[in-house]
Amino acid sequence: MKLTVAMVAASAMLAVGFAAQPMVITTPVVPPSHPTSTSAEAMTEVVQQYCTRCHSDARLRGDLSLEDFSVENAASDPAVAERMIRKLRAGMMPPPGARRPAGDTLVTLVESLEEVIDDAAEGRTSPGNRPFQRVNRAEYERLVDELFGLTVDASTWLPEDQISASFDNVADVQGISATLMDAYLTAASDVARQAVGQSDAPAASHTYSNDPAVSQHEWETVEGAPYGTRGGVSVLHTFPADGKYIFTLGFMSGWGERFHDIDVSVDGAQVALLRYSASTARTIDFQGRLGYPMRTDSVFVRAGQHRIAAAFIRQTDGPYEDLIRPNDWSLSGTEASYGTTSLPHLMHLTVEGPYEPTGVSETPSRSRIFSCRPTSRNEERPCAEEIITRLAAQAYRRELEDRDVDALLDFYDQGAGEGGFELGIRTAIEAMLVSPYFLFRIETEPGGVDPGEIFPVEDVDLASRLSFFLWGVGPDERLLDVARRNDLSDPDVLEREARRMLEDPRSASLSTRFAHLWLRLQDLEKVQPDAFWFPNYSRQLSTDMRRETELFFDYLVREDRSLLDLLEADYTFVNERLASHYGIDGVIGDDFRRVPYPDATRRGLLGHGSVLVQTSLANRTSPVLRGKWVMEVLLGVPPPPPPPGVPDLEETASSEGAKILTTSERMAAHRANPTCASCHNLIDPIGLALDNFDVTGKWRTRENGMPLDTRGTYYDGSEIATASQLADALLERPIPLVRNFTEKLMTYALGRRIEVEDQPSVREIAREASRDDYQMSAFIVGVVRSDAFRMKQAPDVASN
């Protein structure tokens, strides 16, 4: 059976301004022939002829010798075979410039290797194993949100999660320690208090600080601040009780400025209007410090989570460009100078209170908790039992046993004895949130399992696997029902449930969790473009960029698009701020929408600011980092890191006589060094093709006043100079992307790293998906139906 996939990049997708040629790329996806042993021997011959010049016992390039390697016996050392498959599929070996066999010999070679390995694995693949997962920061936040409708920042309590193979949920590196236990306890106490409210809460103060990269320019408003304001601080604060609170403001910059009005609002309603420097008696120094504090009178606020915003009243309307001091827009340069007027920025907001608390009003989280309200002493305990039973079933993600409820009721009794019904409920919630059934996803092992034995994951545990994979939280009632009937272990039922759950809005967590970590969107914030060169860049813009990529990925899932849209999409998601950054007209307002790219300068993910910025340095683009990102994150073939002692690009002369060199010219000089060339010949052309995007992802055609030259030779020999041509070159050979995506999806779904032994399954899922035109659901369902997802293998005695 020969399978080929024709991918037609419809001309409609390549809109204005680009040669509208439909491209038909034909790619063999599955081994078309079954090589006989003679052809395997012939392939061994190819390896010996073309690979062993470098991969010899003597030269050991890449710490690999293939002198004794034979394709027939590839299964005896799958680790080596898989390395070869990866490099061959990517088209990276033999390297550019080296002798290559004619025709499709290399394709036959890699197919033969895959066949040998997959045949050997047939019927004896292990589903693998891992210890139980614990709730990490991101999951904790979601679980608290699901249980109580409360937005919390888990980093307040929990230690940093460790990333392994790109993900934060890999079980075997999730440490367990007294520090962690202590953090879970503190979190539980705080969350229980925030959810129930605390009428006797002691007055406390909480200070929130603005990120200095937040722009407070005339045209920027913060979330929740009224129209007609600029900049400011906006926070979601949980008020423990109805009572009086005081808001105190801290500033930066603002030297020589006065007469700024500051609007303080709770959920959009003004509660105070303050004047910055109302009288000359108030002295403000160049750091924005006032002679005495600026605070509101006490303000009555009801219990619960409210958005507090403090923002300046906008004084200028219409276009506003201050080209003399553009770096005043944000404080990312953290510089200010004496003697120059500068705009004040709000940096700190302190909430102090409650004073004179009067009780706890109804809040969304209280309505979720208190499904009944006792009106007499007699009703209290039955009501408590009802509440606890409902919450705990959700928190423990399984059917409760009597002992579960009894234990929590003991805590209710303890609290109620000290402070009545509500304290009882709060104490029970506190205990529930540190129960190992809440914090850990422990999967029961059936009795009598022998070491090394393969067994199915129990239905109820499978339900949690599925819901944490697709939703990032525990299962809903329906999924638990299916599990309770032991139907979930039926792969067809499992698939049906998975498809149902993909329809649910909660599956957005595949974009905000999975894609976020896979595409390394957390690195975006770590790059702060130099405010002198890039005054338009702000935290607001980087947040939009992250959102763009998440929405794009979410769209692929929701519309069940092809994975290859990642590279060939002629559309993206922008709001006004991002659209104007990209030079796309006609987008007004803060809301994101899907828009077609106006021309072919941007295409798919490679035109996203989130990718282009995270791979830049503060003051220049880095084609090396961009090339590395594409190879590592998209293709799964990371280049080896540079050997120590290699000069970086900064060491290369930045000018030749009077001529300022462009990044590409400096890189060419860098590549002239033969130790660097072997890898940079692969990396640099990829990044160079993206060099028309500056540090902030904006389109440019010149650098340092010199026209940019982005031309390079992709390692398969194609000439590329633009993002679009790079995308074409990558699409020419989709297997690396497709398999790497599958592998990442599995890592995230299983909570363990994908090993050599898993590669036959990865290939199988990717192969199936190719039959469905790489539809997203095909990958997701493929992972869910895999043995690795549904089964486990008990560890060998030896590994205990």
Partner: protein, 460 residues
Amino acid sequence: MHFITGKHIERRAFLKGMGATIGLPMLDAMTPAGRGRLTSSDAPKRLVCIEEVHGVAGCNDWAASQHLFAPETVGRDFELLPGNVLTSLEPYRDHLTIVSNTDVRMAEAFAPPEIGGDHFRSSAVFLTQSHPRQTQGSDLMAGTSLDQLHAQRFGADTVLPSLQLCIEPTDKGGGCDYNYSCSYTDSISWADPTTPLPMIRSPRAAFDLLFGAGGTEEERAFRRRTHSSILDWVAQEVAHLRREVGALDRQRIDRYLDSVREIERRIERVEARNNSGEPRTLPGAPPGVPDSFSEHMQLMFDLQVLAFETDITRVTAFKTGRDASNRAFPESGSDRGFHPASHHGGREENILEFNKICQFRVSQLAYFIERLKSTEDAEGSLLDNTVVLWGSPMGDANLHNHRRCPLILLGGDNGVLEGGSHYNAPDGTPMANVFLTLLHRLGHDDVHSFGDSTGEFLLG
């Protein structure tokens, strides 16, 4: 490049101003905390271990000739020339012991796949002086760290046997390279060769760990009571659960149970302390992670001073950077990223540029020493009964080498170190020798070797 070179905003100074006026919780503005229990000189010595990640500029060959780290003269008459990375410590030279020319060879590559992985392996070596097993999985293997040896012996009767702090986030996209688990990159404290301890980055979380969350003493006491009974129940639940799980999970469950027991003991120790000594008011908790490096460092130092002052712990480990971080430190006078700057290519101008960053980072120590020195203990100052160790498992970060690494010790009149001296080790001396001697001086007489130590190091 910066257009205006006027003045960097000193956010710290700014916040101090705020603290004074609006009650922004800053620790240094506050009264001593908790129930004080000052320690006398016969109490076990406190140990602070601070790691720098990229070595220092002065460990490059040319820079060594300029004495950017090791002073030219050994002994008491050493001179810290203007470019020396330690100049900010000149006011404390009587407390300062410089040890130059020791090696951290356990951080070197032992096998071809390890070559180049220095940044991901070094931190695990610093305080263990042991070579980490190359793995991404849970089969970690390094060594027991210096701070933990001290804590396990002398920390048992404090509330927290030891405290782990760090500055940089650890969520870098992708994870760690060269087939090394991020545990090796992110922790310098190892309770045993297979157990790295998490380092806390948020000053707020560290404060809560030290003193308990809750804001008031009444609320803290209430929470302790609740936690006590919850922990009791959790321990039963865990025992129940243990029966239902496989072998792989059982190990983790046991570790969890140990953690539960440890917290129970902690609560008991707090209660015991509170039944003795004078009650005092605790300061408010500090906010989360500040943007500014120096502000963050100072808060972490404040917390350690506070923890010593209240004798809640005697041992801390402090990781001040993350290997290969590109963070820039504009306050240093250089706008280069930390890691790119460390790859100075051996060029003099670039070494001097990197040196600015190193000087700035080391200068944070002066604040800590001053705080320790100016805070009273039962006899003398906190510094007297404390040994501060600062060093790096890398020497010349440009080459990723681990020879001639920087190491200094600071302390008061504590009978451990004489201070005011520069020791230049004979070539090839393991840093572990210094640690071994230090252990002996700190009361671990029965420890005969540490990491790759070959013997004692003669310290004054």
